[in-house]
């Protein structure tokens, strides 16, 4: 196939923008609805060629704890953005129902569940780090964590690893 370009053809600057950029995301929440923002942003950054590191700390540890990562929950309680009477959220079964509905909606728009999403992030070249203090506090070790977590590291280690990165705390 030979084709001659007779007039200047604009070519997107794929290798100019984003590459060399670095993003650090600290995931500190274990609610289903608060797990997603970090995952979506990490995924978007990786798709743009941005080196991305996620640090899971405190309740965010649930996102990478094997026994819990597939079972994060969404509750109406304390969340006025559902625009439902707060008393309803306390009724038995409401959290399970809200969680089920959120997962269903996410699935409808093609957003994977947390374990699958983490797998996609790792496949895209993302780095997962567990917080040492949280591990000690919750008495967990590597065997309890998602296999793709690269290590249990201190906050200081994470700050060192992400030198020069833009940082998001969620």
């Amino acid at each position: 196939m030979t084709m001659t370009i007779t007039e200047p053809m604009p070519v997107p600057a794929f290798d100019g923008i984003g590459l060399g950029r670095k993003l650090a995301i600290i995931c500190s929440k274990g609610n289903l609805d608060m797990a997603y923002p970090g995952l979506v942003l990490a995924n978007a950054a990786l798709g743009e060629g941005v080196e991305t590191h996620l640090f899971f700390t405190f309740w965010g540890f649930d996102m990478i704890t094997k026994s819990r990562m597939g079972n994060l929950k969404f509750t109406m309680l304390g969340n006025t953005a559902t625009h439902m009477p707060q008393g309803l959220g306390g009724l038995p079964g409401m959290t399970a129902m809200a969680t089920h509905n959120m997962k269903k909606r996410m699935n409808e728009i093609g957003v994977p569940e947390v374990p699958d999403f983490l797998a996609q992030i790792v496949a895209s070249g993302g780095h997962l780090w567990a917080c040492r203090m949280s591990a000690e506090m919750m008495r967990l070790d590597e065997s309890d964590l998602y296999e793709e977590v690269e290590g249990i590291i201190s906050a200081t280690d994470f700050i060192e690893k992400t030198e020069g990165a833009q940082l998001l705390f969620i």
Binding site: M1, M9, P10, V11, P12, A13, V111, P112, Q120, S124
Partner: protein, 104 residues
Amino acid sequence: MPITTIGSSQIHVDSEGFLTEYGEWTESLGETLAAAIGIELTEAHWKAIRFLRGDFAVQGETATLRRVSTLANIPIKELFTLFPGKPAKKMAYIAGLPKPRGCV
């Protein structure tokens, strides 16, 4: 909207160079676009590109990386190897489609 001429055919592109008319794309044009961003298309690349073309024809929207991976059955890792750096955008560019709008 700039018009650029490749060979004997005129094609409509946006300011970045993405084709804006679905019907103006041909496979040989795909090869020219790929070469412009430093990619030599192999059968593995074509599998993704052809999926994107077919999916756009049905959905009216460019497939995201996840959609390509799940429906065309190509591992995400492989897509990053085939189209390094910004796979979703590079695939869309070569396939003559707009950049994907979806987040995931």
